[in-house]
Symmetry: C2
Subunit: 491 residues, 2 copies
């Protein structure tokens, strides 16, 4: 069928690339570094968006839309932001094409050069804070709790579908507050929303933590993140939430009158997740036969495949299959009945395994007689015979069970691949033999962090929030440390 | 309050601009021609999106996502497309900035010049058909029914919020079919979806028709459109649906094997509506006090305003107000209870009128005694006393009635401002005195069309689909004509 995947053990990276293509999730486009998200992949993203959007609105946020383009000069206004961001980006310099004099096609019209170049947004803090200046006069205008769903562009030299692409889709929350405490509370709240989303919808356990100074967002006073573990032992940053202090308010002169009538700079947070979550979802759960999707994000939750030899058998099965489909749909389960007679059941089984459909129901002539169906779970590959009575309730329960099982499995994998190490040798050994998440003492200096990175490629993913204080010595320098931090090799 | 609008009679154009700003729908950004869509405006757009997206999915379409950038050379591949489109657009020429040597900020890194310039998509036919080449081999791969929600950029010199902006948000459907008939059927089906959406959700009656050759989409064999009438007598094109024939399939070499094994070019349609619909919605229904929103697109359908003198009164009213709110919410009505004690009722009334909230419920101390509330309709300004019993059912009915009334009013306005004219004098007189939609005979030539446009600014909005054949003579040339066409001055 040409759909067999390289196994994970053989080549994890190749397995991932093949899976993304063969499961019809995304593909490379004619524009270097930019992907096409195909309908099946996009429908998973839509489910993520819908769940996140509801969580944002339930926590008081509204959506808005800001321009794709940012004047170049805006990037120079926040000193650390420009250092971290404004370099690798798409620059619009002209606004017109014209016919080539030799008739060979179109060329850039040099007469249509912009006075100031426009940057395609790599993130929107600058244009948004420039806008907020007009929205905020008094404490009564605060807080502003705004989110934007948008495309952004960061010119990447080495790209991978979903994980790192030049253009990607994301959401970026940008909030404005009267006090530092409120902004920090918001930053932490949204981190928890992300962690909750990852666990409840993606069945993905995450470590919540704080970035080191080195890894902080350009312009932030503090960056929080959620980190997940992939099956190859590498960590993946799945979302970030930044406390921006008054940096952007100062850069764009956004002040408000306090209740007491004083003028003060506004406090800010920003937070985002992107189509990178698609990569995390795929890499965390899938197997050598294809995608494994948590039912809450599966575009098709149940597929029904008739097993038949004759047109007559198919018609009899189709009748029952449609009844089952209706019963499932009435419980908000998304169902596909694949009654094509152009493909064999085995072909269909492999296709839906590849696409990660959580539950497969097969119905043959004998099932009709016995009032049974064969139910196969994608996550465990178990098959069972189900009585047809109350099937929709049984399937509903099964979907919940699958959702939970995928999370349990991932959590177990993370636990098994998480190590406390106490010496440099142990550190290097754990990393090279097993990968995974390594909790080790660190002396708190950027210098040590850099050296460890250079020697092992491992980075400090975060200073975990749930980690107890614990006296120890840095595995690298031997200097004193108050808390273990999370090291891993990361995507 | 600074929220009073210029009246429509005084200056319709100014009234529109002020309304968009003062009702918090959108504003100009720091980037020339690009707007910021504010949370209140965006929430109306979200309701439009949700309704349209459901209609697209109910008619078998899926969403996908294609790159923001299009290689310049793609625009030269379809001859008429390049003529119509590739001229006024944003051109990306570089992919990196660097620090200015003099420390003055960032400048474009001339070493990071793209080999081939990238165009920010003005529309996506070219990149999508280049992609479809890989998706289509056989008739079994057809039809492809894909839609994309995206931002697009067309460099406009004269912009107006929502109506004409350099960047705008839209959806673009791109479908691929095995036969011409199927592609035409799709083109017409989506035109009807747009007309249906305009009438059912926007309360906006439209004329469905076919564009003349002059006004056709660049690359289309046939362009269909829906045209609406604004209160100033100008027409507004609210959506288009194009039959593209095999033009893009030929330009990008997209062929399929028929059932008989022959290689044939694929047939195409494309169709789109944009944030321009926001402009149509605002201009069609609103009045000198502000927005008038059809309930189905209103972010807040009902606002409850307590009328009180003391904290004690407020508390008593708040209790009842919250009960009413819960009862309404349980029927999926979106409700805001504005119990702020920092603003007077009169201020609040004006604010919600400005923002077009369809129903206002006021509750005072006497209402508590009498178990009544005062209900005010935004569309007619009528106020009535309602018994509180079963209020949620009465309000639900009222919202339906308002939705219908707004449509009826707009339909009536369109009827009153639609004229059949039979001579050139009548034509000019109708146009200059009343504006509106003018049905007149036309000889079918681009030459006459151009002359009429130059002399009167009126264009042929469409050749209406529902217009009966009727022999006549062209109002301009006197040559024979088989059908009246729709003329108007247009946005």
């Amino acid at each position: 069928m040409g759909k067999t995947l390289t196994s994970r053990a053989e080549n994890y990276s190749l397995w991932y690339n093949e899976l993304v293509i063969k499961a019809d999730l995304a593909e490379h486009s004619a524009v270097k570094g930019c992907m096409v998200i195909k309908p099946y992949g996009y429908s998973i993203w839509e489910k993520m968006q819908a769940a996140l959007d509801k969580m944002f609105k339930d926590t008081g946020h509204s959506n808005a839309y800001f321009p794709l383009f940012i004047p170049k000069s805006f990037f120079s206004k926040e000193a650390s932001h420009v250092a971290g961001f404004a370099k690798e980006c798409a620059v619009v310099t002209h606004y017109r094409l014209k016919n080539a004099p030799d008739g060979s096609g179109v060329i850039v019209d040099e007469d249509a050069k912009l006075e100031e170049e426009l940057i395609v947004r790599p993130t929107s803090e600058t244009i948004i804070w420039n806008t907020y200046r007009g929205w905020i006069q008094s404490y009564r205008d605060l807080p502003i709790l705004v989110n934007q769903w948008a495309n952004v562009v960061r010119w990447e030299m080495r790209t991978r579908l979903f994980l790192r692409t030049t253009e990607f889709l994301w959401q970026e929350g940008h909030t404005a507050h009267a006090t530092s405490d409120e902004a920090i509370e918001e930053t932490e709240k949204m981190l928890n929303v992300y962690a909750d989303f990852a666990e409840r919808f993606m069945s993905l356990p995450v470590v919540r933590g704080r970035k080191t100074e080195n890894e902080r967002f350009a312009g932030a006073l503090d960056t929080f993140c959620i980190e997940a573990l992939m099956q190859d032992g590498k960590a993946l940053q799945a979302g970030t939430s930044h406390f921006l202090g008054q940096n952007f308010a100062k850069a764009f002169d956004v002040k408000f009158a306090t209740k007491e009538g004083k003028q003060e700079y506004v406090w800010a947070s920003s937070w985002g997740v992107s189509t990178r979550l698609m990569g995390a979802l795929i890499m965390a759960h899938s197997d050598d036969d294809g995608l494994v999707l948590p039912p809450m994000l599966a575009p098709i939750q149940v597929v029904i495949v008739p097993i038949f030899k004759s047109e007559e058998e198919l018609n009899a099965i189709r009748k029952v299959a449609n009844e089952i489909k209706s019963a499932l749909v009435s419980r908000n389960i998304s169902v596909k009945l694949d009654d094509r007679d152009t493909h064999k059941p085995g072909f269909k089984f492999a296709e839906y395994e590849l696409k990660g459909v959580p539950v497969r129901i097969a119905i043959g002539p004998r099932d009709l007689e016995n009032k049974t169906v064969e139910v196969a779970r994608r996550d465990t590959k178990e098959k069972s015979l189900y009585q047809i009575t109350d099937l929709e309730i049984k399937i509903e329960n099964l979907l919940e069970q699958i959702q939970k099982n995928i999370l349990d499995k991932a959590r177990n994998f993370m636990n098994v691949n998480t190590y406390n190490v106490d010496s440099w040798d142990e550190f290097k050994q754990a990393l090279s033999e097993k990968g995974g998440m390594i909790y080790a003492h660190w002396d708190g200096t950027s210098e040590t962090e850099e050296k460890i990175k250079n020697e092992t490629k491992a980075t400090i993913r975060c200073i975990p929030l749930d980690n107890p204080a614990e006296d120890g010595v840095c595995v690298y320098s031997g200097n004193p440390s108050k808390q273990r931090v999370l090291f891993a090799i990361a995507y």
